[in-house]
């Protein structure tokens, strides 16, 4: 009975997909690295509390687009972004925007787990400290516990919070990085191939985590694994040669996509 209602809830969620408001809106987004144009007028919107997967062959621009969403491209000197990207209607490329604050709202998890060479505890508290999110030690303790719990890591590390984060296994390190991203209470979490360095069990745990995080956060994930995109996302966007080829419900995308290029790519055929 419980299972039934859960499935019903899931279905209702999916059916309501078309009415879910947009959390971030990308309009005519183009990216140039020096003379080279990497993205061509991409119009892609990210729905609230939804997992959006970006797929496509290497060099198609999916990671580039992901990195425009929290201005990670600003760190590259030759990189220029045109078009407009909004977060809750606010232009994130507006000169008045504080980039550090933006990245607290739009967090990021990278391909390779990259915990700071500090204790597990400090890894999680670093963000809240610099953003002034906690006043007392008790506040910090609380943030550490809830963040690690949200990342599904609490039970595994609660007795060794002051050991080094780099001593954890790869899968645990990646979940620590997710806990670190969650600790500053972001609204959107960007994930750039978060499982490509993990074994299947650690991958399954991270995927389960993505599923749970969806309730509270908006997630955008870049992945090379089509099966992973099919498993974790509700919307999928396919990129090719810097263009957005197709954006669709994930179920449709992997059973009957509209675009021939999507079809060829997901079926592993020569285009």
């Amino acid at each position: 009975m419980n299972m039934m209602s859960e499935a019903a809830v899931e279905k209702a969620l999916d059916q309501k997909m078309n009415t879910v408001p947009f959390k971030m809106i990308g309009k005519d987004v183009s990216v140039y690295y020096g003379e080279k144009r990497a993205l061509f007028d991409v119009n892609l919107n990210v729905r609230e509390n939804t997992v959006t997967a970006l797929i496509g062959p290497s060099g198609c621009g999916k990671s580039t687009f992901l990195r425009t969403l929290n201005r990670m491209n600003d760190t590259i000197d030759s990189c220029r972004v045109t078009g407009k990207i909004t977060l809750d209607d606010g232009d994130i490329y507006d000169p008045s925007i504080d980039v550090v604050e933006l990245r607290a709202r739009v967090g990021m998890v990278f391909q390779k787990p990259n915990p700071f060479p500090k204790s597990i505890y400090e890894n999680v508290t670093y963000g809240p400290k610099i953003h002034g999110l906690a006043r007392t030690k008790a506040d910090l303790d609380q943030i550490v516990e809830t963040s690690l719990q949200k990342a599904g890591l609490w039970n595994e590390v609660k007795d060794r919070l002051h050991e080094s984060g780099t001593g954890l296994s790869g899968g645990q390190q990646q979940r620590l990085c997710i806990a670190r991203a969650v600790a500053v209470s972001p609204e959107v979490i960007l994930m750039d191939e978060p499982c490509s360095a993990l074994d299947p069990i650690a991958t399954a745990k991270v995927e389960e985590l993505i599923h749970e995080l969806r309730t509270n956060y908006t997630i955008v994930i870049v992945t090379h694994s089509m099966q992973q995109a099919a498993r974790v996302s509700q919307r999928t966007a396919m990129f090719h040669l810097g263009n957005l080829v197709e954006e669709n419900d994930t179920d449709k995308m992997f059973t009957n996509p509209d675009d021939q290029r999507t079809q060829d790519y997901i079926m592993g055929r020569f285009g």
Partner: protein
Amino acid sequence: MSTHIASVYDEDLKYLTRRISEMGGLAEQMVAESVRALVNSDLALAQKVISDDAILDEAERQIGEKAIVTIAKRQPMAADLREIMGSIRIAADLERVGDLGKNNAKRVIAVANASLPRQLARGLEHLAELALVQLKEVLDVYASRSPEKANSIRERDNEIDAIYTSLFRELLTYMMEDPRNITPCTHLLFCAKNIERIGDHATNIAETIYYMATGAQPVGERPKDDTANTVGAIGN
């Protein structure tokens, strides 16, 4: 359609297509022979049809196993996934067609001693011809994967239904004329029903092909002209 980067994958899919075509050929042959055996009271031919069914059953199992292994190994997507799921469904339909042919063959013994009125035999033959045309055409469509043709086959199933209904009435008339006709006529009624079911399976296959080709279910209700279920009801 372009080929897969992994060429072994293409071979797996080709294997399924080839085996389905083989099954289709054998199922067609079994149905034709079972009706011939029935009309000519040919017991030896009936026996052959009965033993051929084992080949068809085995083919269905092999297709199912290949499909499962391919899904596990390749995690097929989109058209490939529909292709493999379609193979499983079509193999099941063809296996049922074989069963129905076999069932007809088994009834040859029971009706062998009763002399069939010529007209009735022709009626059955005609019904079987139509069902066989459906089956043959649907197998051609399987080779071409044309959704338009698949749809046109689906829309023709009502011809078979109409003839089945008229045979039903005819058989009832014979039974009323002479109670000694009841046993053979009941067997023939089942045979007619079996053939009508074969037409339904051909239609199922057409729908599966449509889905394989387009990713969408064919639109609208399947045309139905089988009114035998109301024959004899008040006002009929």
